[in-house]
C-alpha cells in the first residue's frame, strides 16, 4: 500500500526534529518548517504578534532583502508559502526535487535570520487590516473561527490569530524580536520533507545549516483547556443566516480520536451524512451544511455549519438540534459506521498521493504525537472503532450540554432559538 515509500526520522544535533518520506515515482518534493509560535503563545496586549512575525519572515533576512529572496525562490520555480495559526507557524515550499537543497538553504535563512526590516512593518500592518476585512466578508469562515474563540473563551487557544486593530498597530520591532527569540528555537521545531528527496543528503545539509541554531525553553507544558457553552448572536444584514454549532471532542493523542472522526463523518461529513440528508436533501433548507472535526494540543472540537435563508433559519436550528439529540440518544448504526470507515480510509490514501499532503501530515503527526503513521497503522485504528465505542464517546462528550452556538445574520436570538436550544 505504501509503494515501498519509507518513513524517516532524525534528531539533529541542534535539537531540531526532522521527518521524511521519500516517495517513488514523483518528481516533486515538499518541504516544511514548523515552529511552535502561534496565537496561543501571545501575551496580553500582543495579540496577533505570531502572525506579524510570520508575515515578516519572507520580507528580508540578514543575507538577502525581500526581492533577492523572492527572486532566488522564483527563479527556480519554488512555490512557497507561510502561515500562522493558533499553535504554530509554518513555512513551506513545493518544487522539483533537484531544487530541494536551495529551498532548504533559503527557508532556513527565513526562519533563522529574518531581518525584520522596519520599513516592512507598515505593509504588514496594512495587509493584516485587510485580512480582517476579508474574513469579515466571508460569513461562513467568520462563524467557524468565532466558534473556536467562544468555545474556549478565556483559554490561550481562543486567541484570534489576526489580533486586534489596536494590538497590530502597537506591536513594535522590539516586541517582534523578543517573540521570535523566545519561540523560534530548535527544541520547538519540526522539519518535514516528502517526495523526491535524497534523505541522507537532506540530513547532512540540515545538520550543517542548523548547527549553530539556539535551543530554548522547549514546548511549554499546557493544561487541558476548558470549553464553555454559550450563544452568540452577530447581527448582520446578510441574505442568509449563518449558523455554527460547536462542542468539545478529543485531541489527536486520544485513543478515541478515530471514533470522533468517524462520528463526525456520519453526522456531517459529505453528501451521505445525516445533516446533509436531513437539512439539504430532504428539506432544501441549505446549500452548505457540514460538520468538521479539528484538533489542537490537548483539545479537539467538532463544528457544524449551516448557511440557510433567514425565513427558514429557525427550522434549520431545529433540524440540527434534532439530529444532535438523535445522535446522542441512538448513536450510529453499524451500517453507517462501515460506510464512514470506507470513506475515511479512502480519503487518507488518496491524499497521501500528494507530496505536499504527506509532508504536512507527517509533520503534524510528529508534532502532536511524536510518531509517524503508516497507512496500515491508520487503517487498523479506523477498523478497530466500534459502534459501542462511539456511543460511549458521545456519552462522555455530551454535545447538547456543551453546545456553543454562533449565529451571524439578520435574525434575533428569539427568532432562531425559541423552543429549540432550551432543550439542550
Amino acid at each position: 500500500m505504501d509503494n515501498g515509500d519509507q518513513f524517516k526520522q532524525h534528531l539533529l544535533a541542534s535539537g531540531v526534529q526532522v521527518v521524511g518520506q521519500p516517495m517513488a515515482g514523483v518528481q516533486s518534493a515538499a518541504l516544511g518548517i514548523m515552529v511552535g509560535a502561534g496565537a496561543r503563545h501571545e501575551a496580553a496586549g500582543q495579540a496577533g504578534i505570531a502572525h506579524v512575525v510570520e508575515q515578516l519572515l519572507l520580507r528580508g533576512t540578514s543575507h538577502m532583502d525581500a526581492r533577492q529572496l523572492s527572486d532566488a525562490l522564483e527563479s527556480l520555480g519554488i512555490s512557497y508559502d507561510s502561515s500562522s495559526g493558533v499553535e504554530m507557524t509554518l513555512v513551506s515550499a513545493v518544487m522539483l526535487g533537484d531544487r530541494l537543497p536551495t529551498a532548504i538553504d533559503l527557508l532556513a535563512d527565513v526562519v533563522r535570520f529574518p531581518s525584520f526590516p522596519e520599513d516592512a512593518f507598515p505593509t504588514v500592518r496594512a495587509l493584516i487590516t485587510q485580512e480582517r476585512r476579508q474574513r469579515e466578508d466571508q460569513p461562513a469562515q467568520r462563524v467557524m473561527d468565532l466558534l473556536r474563540q467562544r468555545l474556549y473563551e478565556g483559554e490561550p487557544i481562543s486567541h484570534d490569530v489576526l489580533g486586534t486593530p489596536e494590538s497590530i498597530d502597537t506591536i513594535s520591532r522590539a516586541d517582534v524580536l523578543d517573540f521570535w527569540t523566545h519561540r523560534y528555537t530548535t527544541n520547538d521545531m519540526v522539519i518535514s520533507v516528502a517526495g523526491n528527496v535524497p534523505w541522507d543528503a537532506v540530513i547532512e545539509q540540515l545538520e550543517r545549516v542548523t548547527a549553530t541554531w539556539p535551543s530554548g525553553e522547549g514546548r511549554p507544558v499546557i493544561h487541558e483547556p476548558a470549553a464553555r457553552r454559550g450563544v452568540t448572536i452577530l447581527p448582520k444584514d446578510t441574505n442568509q443566516e449563518n449558523l455554527g454549532f460547536a462542542f468539545p471532542a478529543v485531541p489527536v493523542t486520544d485513543s478515541h480520536y478515530y471514533a470522533a472522526r468517524l462520528l463526525t463523518q456520519v453526522l456531517g461529513g459529505g453528501s451521505n451524512s445525516r445533516l446533509f440528508q436531513e437539512v439539504r436533501e430532504k428539506r432544501g433548507l441549505a446549500y452548505a451544511v457540514s460538520a468538521r472535526f479539528d484538533t489542537l494540543e490537548k483539545a479537539g472540537f467538532i463544528r457544524i455549519y449551516v448557511g440557510t435563508s433567514a425565513q427558514r433559519a429557525h427550522e434549520s436550528v431545529q433540524v440540527v438540534m434534532d439530529e444532535l439529540e438523535r445522535l446522542v440518544a441512538g448513536g450510529v448504526t453499524q451500517d453507517e459506521l462501515t460506510l464512514a470507515k470506507t470513506r475515511v480510509k479512502s480519503q487518507i490514501i488518496m491524499r497521501s498521493e500528494s507530496t505536499l499532503a504527506r509532508m504536512s501530515a507527517n509533520m503534524r503527526n510528529w508534532w502532536y504525537e511524536g510518531q509517524l503513521h503508516t497507512l496500515e497503522g491508520i487503517r487498523d485504528r479506523v477498523d478497530a472503532v466500534t459502534v459501542d465505542e462511539i456511543v460511549a464517546l458521545l456519552q462522555t462528550l455530551r454535545p447538547l450540554e456543551n453546545l456553543n452556538v454562533v449565529a451571524l445574520g439578520p435574525r434575533s436570538q428569539e427568532d432562531l432559538f425559541s423552543g429549540t436550544l432550551a432543550r439542550a
Binding site: 509503494n3 522564483e74 500592518r125 485580512e131 460506510l339 480519503q347
Partner: protein
C-alpha cells in the same frame, strides 16, 4: 502490462455512438480520477431559463430509474469516493476520484448522473437548494463581483449569463424546460469521458461501451461569436461588504488560440500571487491584500482579468497603481529575465500539478478541446519554452491591456469614490 516507471500512457477512442473517451495511465498512482464532461453551460441556455444547466447538475444527484438520490449518495460513500460536479458558462462536469479497485463502480454511478430522472417532485425540492445557493452567492463579495463583471464585459452576449441564474428565473423554471434542455445537450456527441490515474483502459472502454449503447446522441456545438468590447466603469455599492474588490478586464485569446501560453506567461509576470509586478507594486506596499492577474479562455472569446481586493480608503491608490503597472507593461513589454523566470514557474507547476490525477484528468480534456489530441508534459514544456519576448509584444499589440478596460467594483464605495482611480 509492463510500464516503465516514469512513463504515462495516453489513450483515446471515439465510441460508435459518438462518445469521446480519453485516458492517461499514471504508474505511480493508487487512485484514478474519472470525469464526464458535458459541453454545455449557461451560455447555451435560453435567457428565460438562465440557471438551468447548473440546476440540472444538481438534479443529476437526485436519482434515476437505476439509483435513487439516496443510493447515489450512498454509493459514493461506499466506494470512498471524493466526488463533485461543477457548471460554468461552457461546461458541466461530474467528477469522482476513487481507489483503482473502485473505478468501474464509480463509472457506473457517473453514468447514472448523466441520465437523471428529472422528476417533478425532486425538481421542486431541489429548487430550494438552488435558491439558497443564490442567496449565499449574493452574500459573497467575490461572486457578486465576478457576476457583475461578466455581465459588464459581455453585455448582451450569451457569455454574460449568470451560471446560478436569478431568483426569478429559477423560481419560474418549468421542469419540462430542463427535460428538453437535457435531451438536447446531454447526448453522446456532446460528452467526453476522461480518466487519469491507475486503471485498466480495456475494461473501462468495454464497460462504457455497454453502458452507453442506448444513449441518445443529441446535438453538439453552439453558436459562437466574438463579443464587442465595451470598456467602462461600473461600481456596485454594497455597504454590507467591508472590502472593496475590483476586476479590470480586457479581451484576450480564446481557448483554441495557440497564444494561450503567451497569455499565461504574461499574466504570470504581471500578476502571479508571488513575485509578480503587481505583487511588488500593490501587495508589498500594503495597497491591496490581493492583486492578481489571470485569463479565462472560452470557445470564441477570452478575458484577461486583474483582481484587486483592498480596503475602501486605499481603493483609488490601488487602482492607480494597478493601471500604472498595466500601462508600463503595455508600453514597455517584458524583460528577458522575467520571462525566463515565468517559464520556470509555469513549467514547475505543470510538472507538480501533473502528479495529481485530478489535475491531469482536466488537462486531458483541455488538450483534447484545444488540440484535438492529448499532449504530454514534454510537449507542453516545449510550447512554454518557445514563447519569446517578441511574442508577448505581439500579443499586447493584438490585445492591449491598457488604457481601455472593463472595470467593475463591488464594495462599500460609491462610483464617485472610485472614479478618480481610473482617470
Amino acid at each position: 502490462m509492463v510500464v516503465p516507471a516514469e512513463t504515462s500512457l495516453f489513450y483515446t477512442e471515439t465510441l460508435s455512438n459518438g462518445l469521446q473517451m480519453l485516458g492517461e495511465y499514471m504508474p505511480s498512482a493508487q487512485s484514478a480520477a474519472c470525469v464526464f464532461y458535458v459541453q454545455t453551460g449557461a451560455r447555451d441556455e435560453a435567457p428565460e431559463h438562465m440557471g438551468v444547466s447548473h440546476f440540472l447538475e444538481h438534479m443529476a444527484f437526485r436519482g434515476n430509474e437505476r439509483r435513487s438520490s439516496e443510493a447515489i449518495d450512498r454509493a459514493f460513500e461506499e466506494m470512498g469516493a471524493d466526488s463533485n460536479a461543477a457548471t460554468s458558462l461552457e461546461m458541466t462536469y461530474y467528477w469522482a476520484r476513487v481507489l483503482s479497485e473502485n473505478v468501474s463502480w464509480a463509472i457506473d454511478v457517473l453514468c447514472d448522473l448523466t441520465h437523471p430522472a428529472l422528476s417533478a417532485d425532486m425538481f421542486n425540492q431541489e429548487r430550494n437548494v438552488i435558491l439558497e445557493e443564490i442567496a449565499r452567492g449574493d452574500d459573497s463579495p467575490g461572486r457578486v463581483l465576478f457576476t457583475h463583471f461578466m455581465s459588464d464585459f459581455f453585455g448582451d452576449h450569451p457569455l454574460s449569463r449568470d451560471v446560478l441564474g436569478t431568483e426569478q428565473t429559477i423560481s419560474n423554471l418549468p421542469v419540462e424546460a430542463m427535460r428538453s434542455y437535457w435531451a438536447d445537450r446531454y447526448g453522446t456527441k456532446n460528452m467526453i469521458f476522461a480518466i487519469a490515474g491507475n486503471f485498466d483502459w480495456e475494461s473501462v472502454r468495454t464497460q462504457l461501451q455497454a453502458l452507453s449503447a442506448h444513449w441518445q446522441q443529441g446535438t453538439s456545438g453552439r453558436v459562437t461569436s466574438p463579443a464587442a468590447f465595451r470598456p467602462g466603469l461600473h461600481v456596485v455599492q454594497r455597504e454590507t461588504f467591508t472590502q472593496e474588490q475590483v476586476l479590470l478586464g480586457t479581451p484576450s485569446v480564446g481557448r483554441c488560440d495557440p497564444r494561450y501560453y503567451t497569455a499565461a506567461l504574461l499574466t504570470t509576470i504581471l500578476g502571479d500571487d508571488t513575485g509578480s509586478r503587481l505583487f511588488w507594486a500593490l501587495h508589498e506596499t500594503g495597497l491591496a491584500e490581493s492583486a492578481t492577474a489571470s485569463t479565462y479562455e472560452l470557445e470564441d472569446n477570452g478575458v484577461l482579468m486583474v483582481h484587486i481586493a483592498t480596503e475602501p480608503d486605499k481603493t483609488v491608490a490601488a487602482l492607480q497603481a494597478t493601471r500604472a503597472e498595466m500601462a508600463l507593461l503595455q508600453d514597455g513589454g517584458v524583460q528577458e529575465a522575467e520571462l525566463e523566470r515565468a517559464k520556470v514557474k509555469l513549467n514547475s507547476s505543470e510538472v507538480i500539478g501533473g502528479e495529481n490525477p485530478n489535475v491531469r484528468v482536466m488537462s486531458l480534456i483541455h488538450s483534447w478541446l484545444t488540440e484535438g489530441r492529448l499532449e504530454s508534459l514534454g510537449e507542453i514544456r516545449h510550447k512554454i519554452d518557445a514563447v519569446k519576448v517578441e511574442d508577448i509584444a505581439a500579443y499586447l499589440r493584438d490585445f492591449p491591456i491598457y488604457p481601455r478596460q472593463v472595470i467593475t467594483a463591488v464594495g462599500p464605495l460609491a462610483e464617485s469614490d472610485v472614479r478618480a482611480g481610473v482617470e
